[in-house]
Amino acid sequence: MLRISGDPIDAGLELNQFESRAPGAGGIVTFSGQVRPEAQQGEVNTLFLQAYSPMTEHGIEAAIADARSRWALDDVLVLHRIGEMKPGDTIVFVAAAAKHRRAAFDAADFLMDYLKTEAVFWKKESTARGAHWIEPRDADYADASRWTKKETV
């Protein structure tokens, strides 16, 4: 399941709802990411995240389908917030349920790598020095490349 919305994300509520949809799954791995307080150019006042519907949704849905084809998953949930956020706000929440915990860990990890590097989002940080759009980080690309390397090495 995928939801992209400007509403705040309540990670605990989402985890409990996810858990009750997948009872007795064995294991659930979640990742929740918060807007960081510090930016390259000082303290963050706000973060603005922009999506392009339905391209953003299609890309994430393809990544979910890819994860489901790689690992035996009982359920997957991706929530992404867009619009204006403050430091500490939850920007992303991913949950993967599987009988075997290794599959749940790997799937959540894989989806986060996609979301942080390839997902169709543009983001703008506002600090005391002004606002600027953030370009991709090299470290994020390195994370995402782990999954394709596995197939070729």
């Binding site: 922009q50 979301l115 590097t117 991709p136």
Partner: protein, 82 residues
Amino acid sequence: MQKILYFGRLSDVTGTSEEMLSIPAEIETAGALREWLDVRFDASGALLDPTVRIAIDSEITFDTAPVGDASEIAFMPPVGGG
């Protein structure tokens, strides 16, 4: 009239993230549209940057793609993830 979208830092250059536009008939391809809009916005090449991809009706495409039948054309700087 066709809808043109400018994402990320491009909206700072164009001053808008979305507009309805009548593209002149002589602008036949995505590449020609880039050049015409870059001049129109006095964008100093911001729209010509090869890392800026063009999507026609939600499909990433090449500069050779025809724009005549497009209902929505998007200019997309590199995506940085969420």
